[in-house]
């Protein structure tokens, strides 16, 4: 498969084929090693300019993208919305046109509105990578979860993964659902009925009413962050009750028929959706997820930029690339 087969943009995993997802995961494998080198840099995207356009606060995803870009030798600019022209009322389409006018190559966008990445991608020639749009998708998070699960289990076909928590408002959940289903895994969702869309059954997703059901069914749990505002909006009565009924605790995991793998996209609410002894315990692959995040994002950037066979070559020439 040629790298161009990924298309111009990455807006979500729903629009990708299984082969395209496998291509990204396979491309990420050798990139893992780059981050283990003393000089963490390859010349794959040398001369490319990338804008990281974050309309929402983000620490992990923004830093992960920035490392991925820098380790591929791209020139990067970070735009935070506070203090930018967006703060002065500029529309997304005008922001897009101005970026385009500066002849950039790629945009990584995080935005509060579902569909914002696609909107941008349809209006500029540069590649657009969705770093999370509203409650729609967060494809690179989905990909790093897939890579982490593949590392743990060797394959994804037939694997049972339960996504636990606020599925209704989660872009991580949607990207996981599409990625897992396309690669042949079984997907369950578990959480309060107020936060689990009924229509997921139409996509082939199993609803598991209680966390005990999810633990008994699954090979791995992907535990979502529960946001405090869900309580204020009336979806759940209290964080305390949420932990009592849906929290992933060591006690519950010990009753599982098999050893589970626990993922969490972060940032965690310790003592709410996940107990500390689980997050820090042997089941957890939360930090390997973060490590894989850089490799997966390097793969996506590399493939969208058109790829090239020679990225492994050591940095040639002098200058500050060395």
């Amino acid at each position: 498969m040629s790298p161009a087969a990924l298309g111009k943009d990455l807006v979500g995993l729903e629009g990708l084929t299984a082969d395209q997802i496998r291509l990204i995961l396979d491309t990420a494998e050798p990139f893992k090693e780059v981050s283990e080198r003393p000089i963490k840099k390859v010349p794959a995207l040398r001369g490319k300019t990338i804008v990281n356009l974050f309309f929402e606060a983000s620490t992990r995803t923004r830093i992960s993208f920035e490392f991925a870009e820098k380790r591929l030798s791209a020139d990067t600019v970070n735009v935070a919305v506070a203090g930018s022209s967006v703060d002065k009322g500029e529309t997304l389409v005008d922001t897009a046109r101005n970026l385009e006018a500066m002849r950039i190559d790629m945009v990584v966008i995080r935005h509060g509105s579902s569909g914002a990445a696609q909107f941008l991608g349809e209006r500029i020639r540069s590649n657009v990578i969705n770093a999370g749009d509203g409650t729609h998708e967060h494809p690179t998070q989905g990909l790093l979860d897939l890579l982490t699960l593949r590392d743990c289990f060797g394959k994804l076909e037939g694997l049972k993964v339960a996504i636990c928590g606020d599925v209704l408002h989660s872009r991580v959940a949607r990207s996981n659902i599409w990625g897992l289903l396309k690669l042949g895994a079984e997907v369950g969702v578990c959480g309060p009925a107020t936060l689990i869309p009924r229509e997921l059954a139409e996509l082939g997703v199993t609803t598991l009413p209680r966390i005990e059901d999810a633990i008994a069914w699954a090979d791995a749990l992907n535990v979502l962050r529960l946001q405090l505002e869900r309580m204020h909006a009336g979806f759940i009565p209290s964080m305390r009750e949420y932990n009592r009924v849906f929290g992933v605790s060591l006690e519950r995991l010990e009753r599982a028929p098999k050893e589970l793998v626990i993922l969490h996209p972060g940032p965690m609410n310790r003592g709410v959706e996940i107990d500390s002894d689980v997050a820090d315990g042997p089941h957890s692959v939360i930090l390997p997820q973060v490590t894989n995040g850089v490799a997966v994002r390097m793969a996506v950037l590399y493939l969208l930029a058109g790829g090239g066979p020679d990225w492994r070559a050591p940095m040639a020439g002098g200058g500050d690339d060395r």
């Binding site: 579902s114 569909g115 914002a116 909107f119 409650t135 729609h136 998708e137």
Partner: protein, 434 residues
């Protein structure tokens, strides 16, 4: 004003249940005669209608013309021009402008702008509550005297059941309907599209069908309590159709409208985040679309209304959840009605015309909807077979926010006559064969 003879067309007049080849003679703005081989009066203008349909002009009881306040999107003049281009001779303009049409003075402004435009007749709908704030009743009597034909807080529901009750009771004095936008705001809050599998996939907050149906049920109950006439705007769900069907079986004074987009499209049209598919009520599911069609067939839904809602392209060119609701509809209504309802065998052409002219005129007690001798000569000549492509740059509205751009429709108005005057004549180069 010279006489006008429309010659040799298929004259369909649902008000008299007639359908056959005939000439229509217009004299001094009124229908003078309908019959075979009417001699040409001296000096009369002639419209050759052979192969065409001649019908009472269409009547749309639900449009938004944005004037005063949002003239960059539409004015009464541009809206009325769009109306006649679609074959409409009368429209009812919703009051959610800035300022709100909630007094005799503002109603009078709409009437004057309508007369000045000289296109379709624009009948004002006054607000139910002052400023559409849902608190104090407006002066229905004075607004009716100034020309208002109904009251509505459209764009918003009448939230207070007490206010809706008093509006229905008070409106009885003036013989006008209270038109309600049925939406339980606490259920619909923040929603950008129909709640269903598509909203789940797109990650957009959904508006459940229940948000509409709860208010439909309430309004029906209040119609029964008061004996007032409630008109339910833009019905979109199968549950609403069922509630109205039962209300009509009980003989309650409940009427309802549905839009061409709700009998044509489903929520799948929102895929890709096309803001031209964003409206309120939202596009629903296939079963809802089918129920609306059946409701139009059996009369549960009385009439077709467009909910013509122009928006400047800047307003629609943005994130889906941030974009305003609504689409333009006047120029695509006939072509959709024929393509979706007549070509499919759900309605006969005379039945479609009835739901677009005679019945809405009757429901809102407007002149028009008939070619009876002595009636105002408001009529349309259209080619029911013409296939044409919707092009944004060829719409007459000031806005072009249509989800049907690029689609081929069947049937298009060619000549629209209002009060005996030709208010629209499609130039030959606009007769684009698809």
């Amino acid at each position: 004003m010279s006489d006008l003879l429309i010659r040799g067309g298929r004259v369909i007049d649902p008000s008299r249940q007639t359908d056959g080849l005939a000439d229509v003679l217009v004299h001094e703005g009124r229908v003078e005669a309908v019959g075979r081989n009417i001699p040409v009066p001296p000096g009369a203008a002639i419209i050759e209608a052979a192969g065409k349909v001649v019908a009472p002009g269409f009547v749309d009881v639900h449009v938004h013309f944005r004037e005063p306040g949002f003239e960059h999107a539409e004015t009464i003049a541009t809206g009325a021009t769009s109306a006649v281009a679609g074959g409409f001779t009368a429209v009812c303009a919703m009051p959610n402008t800035d300022p709100v049409i909630d007094s005799a003075a503002t109603v009078g402004f709409v009437v004057r702008q309508s007369i000045r435009a000289g296109k379709a007749r624009v009948f004002p709908i006054g607000a139910v509550s002052v400023g559409q704030r849902g608190e104090q009743l407006t002066e229905f009597g004075e607004m009716v005297e100034a020309g208002a034909v109904a009251v509505s807080d459209d764009g918003k529901p009448v939230v207070s059941s007490h206010l809706m009750r008093t509006a229905l009771e008070y409106a009885k004095t003036f013989g006008i309907p209270v038109a309600d936008h049925c939406e339980d705001m606490s259920l619909a809050h923040g929603g950008a599209m129909h709640e269903g599998v598509v909203s789940v996939r797109l990650g957009l907050k959904g508006i459940p069908s229940a948000a509409e149906e709860i208010m439909v049920a309430r309004d029906i109950i209040l119609a029964e309590l008061t004996g007032g006439h409630v008109h339910l705007c833009h019905m979109s769900t199968r549950g609403s159709v069922e509630l109205i069907r039962r209300a009509k079986e009980k003989g309650l004074r409940v009427t309802a409208e549905a839009t061409p987009h709700h009998f044509t499209l489903t929520h799948h049209r929102c895929e890709g985040y096309d803001t031209d598919a964003k409206m309120n009520p939202p596009l629903r599911e296939e079963a809802d679309r089918e129920a609306i069609r059946q409701g139009l067939r059996d009369g549960t839904i009385d009439c077709i209304a467009t909910d013509h809602a122009p928006h400047h392209y800047d307003a629609k060119e943005r994130e889906f959840d941030q974009a305003p609701n609504g689409i333009v509809g006047l120029e695509t209504a006939l072509g959709l009605g024929i393509r979706e309802l007549v070509s499919t065998g759900l309605l006969t052409l005379p039945e479609l015309i009835a739901r677009m002219s005679t019945i809405p005129a009757r429901v809102f007690r407007l002149p028009g909807g008939t070619l009876a001798v002595g009636a105002p000569a408001d009529l349309v000549v259209f080619d029911p077979d013409r296939r044409w492509e919707v092009r944004k740059d060829q719409l007459h509205s000031r806005s072009a926010n249509s989800p049907f751009a690029g689609e081929v429709l069947t049937g298009q108005a060619e000549t629209t006559v209002v009060g005996g005057k030709v208010a629209f004549q499609r130039p030959p180069d606009r007769l684009l064969d698809a």
